[in-house]
C-alpha cells in the first residue's frame, strides 16, 4: 500500500493509507497512514457496525487536511468490538474432528456434509441476499467433487477454459471456505472470526479434507501445485505439524 501511495502522490493525487501492521508502515513510510489495531482482513473494523467504520474512515480522511507531513502515522484508539467470541453462537453442523482415517471415508463425509451446508447456506442467502462464493464459477457440489478428485489422486483437468487446474483447485477451495463461513455466520449470533475458523478447520469434514488435500498435493512432483497447496490453501496458523 505504501508504494501505491507513493506512486499516486507523485502523480499529484493525495492519499491516506490504513495500516494493519504498524512496523511495516514505519518501514515503508507512506505520506499519511492511520494504524488500526484490528485483525488482518478488517481494515475498517467490525462488520455491520456503520458508526465504528465511519469513525475509522473519517479519522483517516481528516489526515488529508493536515499540513505537517510527510510522513504522518497516527493510531486509531479503539479495538474491534467484534473480536470477542459470542458464547451464544452455535455452528450449523459439527463433524468428527479427525481427518486421518481412510481417504474414501473422508471423501464420503465431505460429499454428505455438502448437502447439509447447502441447506445452512440457504439461510445465509435468505438473510443477506448475497454471497462471496464465485471465484471458481462452479457450484458448491462441483467444488467439493473437484476437491475429492484431487484427494483421490486423479489430478483432474481444469473444468474452466483459461484457468489452470491448480488455480481452479485454489478457487474451488476458496469457494468451499466462503460457503461454510457464510453459512456459519447465518442467524442472529455474532461469531468472531476465531470461532468460525476453529469450527471450520477443526469440526468439519471440509476443513479436514482441505488439510488432507494440502498433504496430498505436497507429495506431488508438480512444483506449481506444491507451491499453491503449501501456501494458499490452509492459513499458516492452522497448518498442522509445522510442515
Amino acid at each position: 500500500m505504501s508504494a501505491l501511495g507513493h506512486y499516486l502522490e507523485e502523480e499529484g493525487i493525495a492519499t491516506v493509507a490504513i495500516s494493519l501492521i504498524r512496523a511495516q508502515t514505519e518501514n515503508t513510510k507512506p505520506p499519511r497512514a492511520l494504524w488500526v489495531p484490528f485483525e488482518l482482513g478488517r481494515p475498517f473494523g467490525p462488520p455491520d457496525d456503520a458508526a465504528f467504520q465511519r469513525r475509522v474512515l473519517l479519522m483517516a480522511l481528516q489526515m488529508l487536511e493536515r499540513d505537517s507531513g510527510p510522513v504522518i502515522i497516527e493510531d486509531f484508539p479503539d479495538d474491534d468490538p467484534r473480536a470477542q467470541a459470542d458464547p451464544g453462537w452455535c455452528p450449523p453442523l459439527v463433524a468428527d474432528a479427525g481427518g486421518n482415517g481412510p481417504l474414501e471415508t473422508l471423501v464420503a463425509r465431505l460429499q454428505s456434509e455438502i448437502l447439509q451446508i447447502e441447506d445452512a447456506h440457504r439461510l445465509w442467502a435468505a438473510q443477506n441476499g448475497r454471497t462471496m462464493i464465485g471465484l471458481s464459477g462452479l457450484s458448491i457440489r462441483d467444488c467439493a467433487r473437484y476437491v475429492a478428485d484431487w484427494l483421490n489422486g486423479r489430478a483432474p483437468k481444469s473444468p474452466r477454459d483459461g484457468f489452470s487446474a491448480p488455480l481452479m483447485l485454489r478457487f474451488a477451495v476458496d469457494d468451499l471456505k466462503a460457503c461454510y463461513l457464510e453459512a456459519g455466520a447465518a442467524g442472529n449470533a455474532r461469531p468472531s472470526s476465531r470461532q468460525l475458523g476453529d469450527w471450520f478447520w477443526d469440526k468439519t469434514a471440509a476443513g479436514a479434507a482441505i488439510h488432507r488435500l494440502r498433504e496430498v498435493c505436497l507429495g506431488s512432483e508438480d512444483e506449481r501445485l506444491k507451491l499453491i497447496a503449501g501456501n494458499f490453501l490452509v492459513p499458516a496458523m492452522r497448518v498442522r505439524g509445522g510442515r
Binding site: E11, T15, P30, M132, G134, F163, M237
Partner: protein, 153 residues
C-alpha cells in the same frame, strides 16, 4: 482472528519487515478541505467484480469497481489465506467502505464519491505495480478524484 501475533514468527517477521522500494522523493500533495474532495477507494484486497478476471497469482495490475457495484457482486481473489475474510463476507464495508463514503458525501463531510474505485492484489511486487499505478493516476484525474483512501487487508 488473524493478528500479526497469530502468524508463525517467520511469516510475521516477513510481513513486518516487508521490503518496499527505496524512494528518493517524499511526495506530499495538499488540497482543499475534505468537504470539497472527491474520494476514491484503492484496495489491495484483490477485489474483483463478479464475472471479471480474478487475480490469478501475483498479478501487478488492477481491477476497476464501478461505484454502483452491488454488494453481492464483489469477490475477493487475493492469493493470501492469512487474513480474515469472514468480516468482508458479512459486510463489504469492512474492506471496501463504499457505503460509508456514500453516506459521508450525502452528509457533506466529503464532496463526492468517485465514479470508479480500484483494487490491486497486495502480495504483488510493488515495483511491478508502478506503471499500473501511474496509469491509474490518470484515470483518477479524469474522474476529478483528488483524494484516495488506500485500504489493505
Amino acid at each position: 482472528m488473524t493478528r500479526l501475533s497469530d502468524l508463525p514468527p517467520t511469516q510475521a517477521r516477513r510481513l513486518a519487515e516487508l521490503e518496499c522500494p527505496e524512494f528518493e522523493t517524499r511526495p506530499w500533495v495538499t488540497g482543499p478541505e475534505l468537504s470539497r474532495r472527491r474520494v476514491a477507494i484503492v484496495s489491495s484486497a484483490g477485489l474483483v467484480v463478479r464475472g471479471d478476471d480474478p487475480f490469478r497469482g501475483r498479478d501487478a495490475d488492477y481491477r476497476a469497481i464501478p461505484t454502483d457495484t452491488e454488494a453481492g457482486e464483489l469477490l475477493i481473489s487475493h492469493i493470501s489465506v492469512n487474513f480474515d475474510r469472514t468480516g468482508a463476507q458479512q459486510d463489504r464495508n469492512v474492506v471496501f467502505p463504499l457505503d460509508r463514503l456514500t453516506e459521508m458525501a450525502a452528509d457533506g463531510v466529503i464532496g463526492s464519491v468517485a465514479a470508479t474505485h480500484y483494487s490491486f492484489m497486495g502480495a504483488s511486487d510493488p515495483t511491478q505495480m508502478e506503471s499500473h499505478a501511474r496509469e491509474l493516476a490518470g484515470r483518477l484525474k479524469n474522474d476529478k478524484v483528488d483524494a484516495v483512501i488506500l485500504a489493505p487487508v
